[in-house]
């Protein structure tokens, strides 16, 4: 059951490519909701947790209006590795993965929607799309919210809107995030300035591999901080226009780099490809940096024969949980670096049409 959600690194909805695919990886909408009459997860009893969970799962199972089929999993029934993979796929949050007693997840078959139960709030409805599609993702989340509100007593006040455990989510309970690959802005040292400006606009920029690993692989997540005092439409419109500006700046920076240092850039992206296709040991930091450079090379048409989709898959599946699933075993960190190099070599050799002069397909036999 759960296995079907763990096999693929990227779900089919990630396959969509449009005008923004060279920069925006995915878009995510999250709505926080709570049920009236129950304490929030930080203060509730196990019994209350169970009641909330039953109410939510029933509401979803009994609804005839939800288009997708949802699979239910209790976090406590999943192995640590399974939880980690769900986190790496962004299907559940790291906080939910840590829950020992309560907490569960409802996943739609296409993996575009996940409903987390008893995380920080009773419900977190999360919808994802490929590329830059805020409206589409929000409409999906809104639809689910409208269906569930008929069956569940959502805690709401006229003054404060939807009530949430943390006052940073109050009001709309809406968090919109756009995940972007910004190598040229990082390379030209413009990210700090952008991050500062964003903070003033009530938005945040973070890395995707969790807090601390700020800009690993030059991937950033832009999201709104403000949830109260603005309408959903305004929040989305603001994120939309800010993200568009960042995309513009990144394209401009890429153009400038090509104009001023095409050879140096070409050298950089091919060196990265060389490392990924030949290295025997790769830390996640090095792999992320190389994947970012190769992706830039593909986007700028310096490298041909590698699909953006393959790189997206590599970015997800080079993470520790996926690697161990790939290897079928729990691996100590040093072993992971070896398996990571092996996995990436396999993925990119298969893809890379212009075969490297040294080495080639047969060389994997040396590893056995």
């Amino acid at each position: 059951m759960i296995e079907s959600f763990l096999e693929r690194a990227t779900p089919t909805w990630m396959g969509v490519e449009d005008d923004y695919s060279d920069i925006v990886i995915s878009t995510r909408i999250r709505l926080a909701r709570n049920l009236d009459g129950y304490r929030f997860p930080l203060a509730f009893t196990e019994n209350e947790a169970l009641q909330v969970e039953q109410a939510v799962t029933h509401a979803i199972k009994d609804s005839t209006k939800l288009q997708e089929n949802y699979s239910y999993f209790a976090i406590k029934d999943l192995t640590p590795l399974q939880r980690q993979i769900l986190v790496e796929k962004h299907l559940i949050s790291p906080q939910l993965a840590k829950k020992e007693l309560v907490g569960s997840i409802l996943l739609s078959d296409d993996e575009s929607t996940s409903i987390m139960v008893n995380e920080e709030d009773h419900l977190r409805i999360q919808c994802m799309t490929a590329s830059f599609q805020l409206q589409k993702a929000y409409e999906q989340a809104n639809k689910i919210d409208r269906i569930l509100e008929k069956a569940l007593p959502f805690a709401f006040r006229d003054t404060f809107g939807y009530l949430t455990s943390c006052p940073t989510n109050i009001g709309t309970g809406l968090r919109a995030s756009v995940m972007m690959h910004l190598p040229a802005l990082t390379l030209t040292g413009q990210m700090n300035q952008i991050i500062n400006a964003m903070t003033r606009l009530g938005m945040t920029v973070r890395g995707i591999y969790g807090e601390g690993s700020e800009n690993l692989g030059n991937v950033y997540q832009v999201s709104n901080q403000i949830t109260l005092g603005k309408t959903e439409d305004d929040i989305l419109a603001d994120i939309q226009s800010v993200a568009e500006k960042i995309i513009q700046k990144e394209r401009h920076a890429r153009g400038k780099l090509m104009e001023k240092a095409e050879l140096a850039l070409e050298d950089r992206v091919y060196r990265a490809l060389g490392t990924l296709t030949h290295a025997r040991i790769l830390t996640s930091e090095e792999a992320a940096t190389c994947l970012s450079n190769v992706r830039l090379g593909v986007d700028l048409k310096l490298i041909e024969g590698i699909k953006a989709m393959t790189l997206n898959e590599c970015v997800v599946s080079m993470q520790p949980g996926f690697l161990q699933n790939y290897a079928g075993d729990v691996l100590p960190p040093a072993e992971r670096d070896r398996v990571r190099a092996e996995m990436l070599r396999e993925a990119l050799f298969r893809e890379n049409v212009s075969k490297p002069i040294i080495g080639g397909k047969g060389e994997d036999s040396f590893d056995v």
Partner: protein, 182 residues
């Protein structure tokens, strides 16, 4: 000179500290110095969490602490949420509320909080389907007018002006909704 810490290598770094008005000099080798340079300790501080921010902003500043303490003595019952037992102090510590009723219990503190960390104290977004009708908007306007009166009585005219604008916005919405209904 030999390093004070490892007592092996030559001391090449002089660290001057001012401790309670006294200048103290330490001599370390570069290996030991890099380990406990005073700046290192400072930079290793954890990022400021929402909890810290909340207590820094909304816990009373130290010069008001005494006053607040006196006040609390005057009011024998500190505010406690009847449903989950949370106190406002606990909220400041955790950065999170215990249950939906907390928002009713501590409602008087909240507009001030939301003015700082949010775009304003009033929700203007989506409502659950059953609520978004004329009746609810009317009630909201009534509620805002009440709060406006309190603000005027307390001579908080900026707050009152903000509320007046909110009420106007809602009246517009009401007209729109009314037109829609009929």
């Amino acid at each position: 000179m030999i390093c004070e810490h490892c007592k092996q290598r030559n001391a090449t770094v002089t660290v001057t500290q001012v401790q309670s008005g006294q200048k103290v000099e330490h001599h370390y080798c570069d290996v030991c110095a890099s380990q406990f340079h005073p700046f290192h300790a400072e930079f290793k501080q954890e990022p400021v969490s929402i909890q810290q921010l909340l207590s820094n902003w909304f816990g009373s500043p130290s010069w008001q602490q005494q006053k607040a303490d006196e006040k609390q003595q005057a009011q024998p019952q500190p505010q406690t949420c009847p449903h989950c037992g949370f106190t406002y102090k606990q909220f400041l510590k955790e950065g999170k509320f215990g249950c939906p009723i907390c928002y009713d219990t501590f409602s008087e503190h909240l507009p001030k909080l939301f003015n700082r960390i949010q775009a304003g104290p009033q929700h203007i977004g989506k409502m659950p389907g059953a609520r978004s009708n004329v009746y609810v908007i009317k009630k909201q306007i009534e509620d805002i007018r009440k709060r406006m009166k309190v603000a005027v009585d307390e001579e908080q005219f900026e707050v009152a002006a903000k509320l007046r604008d909110e009420a106007k916005e809602l009246e517009k919405q009401l007209q729109f909704e009314g037109g829609d209904v009929s």
